[in-house]
Symmetry: C2
Subunit: 207 residues, 2 copies
């Protein structure tokens, strides 16, 4: 690697450092990308940076579900063909995109924007749990289902339990994602925890 | 992959497309990077884009060797301890950085900014060959050495030959990089072309 004091230009060095601060971009890749951008016409570079700046400056968050949107209400919450009484609680925008890509879900979402993680200093008030409780409180009727679709690690389990304690008195049905072997998975290659849970959580055979 | 019409935000889609236009960044990585930037404070994103914009707007090119620089003359050409009568001709800024990183070269450079490639529509007048010829013409004396340090492929060989024809009448010594097995290379794993050239171009043994 080219040592920092030998960069031919301070401007290049700063661009490499900025690009190298992105997750998963090493210093070699950062240099390669910076030199690529250096070889582009200025208007191409400006087009690139303007598109990135709009992420910081112009993105809205849905006032109902906290999903990113181009307006005050996201396209999913604005879609009246979707079941607004089934709310899937997820950690991130990415999770909504992943579930939407399955085409299997017709309810709506609630994006927490993070997960409870004491080690990272993230507590319940740092994510959108209060907004979820208030949202449920505003809804009438008893046929509301909350799907806790958080990750299966300690932080996800902790957050799911915390949310459950907050909403268990509100008369809503609370469910979580089915876990077990992936479809098409070989038993031979499954990890012991997943295989064990798949056996204890076995389901009726539907021929 | 999340299909384009299902992006929750047009702004996100445009940012992913812009990031995905970088070389070696696939659509999944582009989405991951865009969502990372979305989660950053606005000032971090602005710092990133400002550093990239300066690449397009503020970088100078050395008026002597065409290397990028923060002033009209690059740090290498401005360094009077370097041998200005030995000029290493390279394709790109990256090549200068690679040779400088070896610490083995005390001459100066001439950056062509490309390579002759008819298939890409790049001819001799599209790269800085004329500037090299004029530069040599301005220099007095007979002890000038031009090192043609271009790649070993067809385009590199073509460009080297073209430059040689332009400067052979100017009374300069012209050399090129030594090619052969890498230091520490096993014969067993060398490609046949390299091994063959290493034999025909064998050098005196210096014990």
């Amino acid at each position: 690697m080219y040592s920092s004091e030998k960069y031919p230009s301070q401007i290049l060095r700063e661009a490499v450092e900025a690009i190298g601060s992105l997750p998963g971009v090493g210093s070699r890749s950062a240099l390669r990308l910076a030199l690529h951008l250096l070889g582009q016409p200025a208007e191409s570079v400006h087009h690139f940076t303007a598109a990135v700046n709009r992420l910081a400056d112009e993105v809205h968050y849905c006032h109902i579900c906290q999903m990113i949107a181009d307006a005050d209400t996201c396209a999913i919450c604005a879609d009246h063909t979707r079941d607004a009484r089934t709310i899937c609680v997820v950690e991130s925008v990415r999770d909504v995109m992943s579930i939407e890509a399955t085409g299997q879900y017709r309810g709506v979402y609630h994006v927490l924007g993070g997960i409870i993680s004491p080690i990272d200093g993230i507590g319940p008030s740092d994510i959108h749990i209060r907004e979820l409780v208030e949202r449920i409180g505003r809804m009438k009727g008893e046929d509301i289902e909350i799907i806790l679709a958080l990750s299966g690690d300690v932080e996800g389990e902790t957050t799911s339990l915390y949310i459950y304690r907050q909403i268990e008195g509100l008369g809503v049905k609370v469910s979580t994602l089915a876990r077990g072997l992936g479809f098409g998975d070989d038993l031979e290659y499954a990890d012991a925890l997943t295989l064990g849970r798949s056996i204890t959580g076995r389901q009726p055979f539907r021929p």
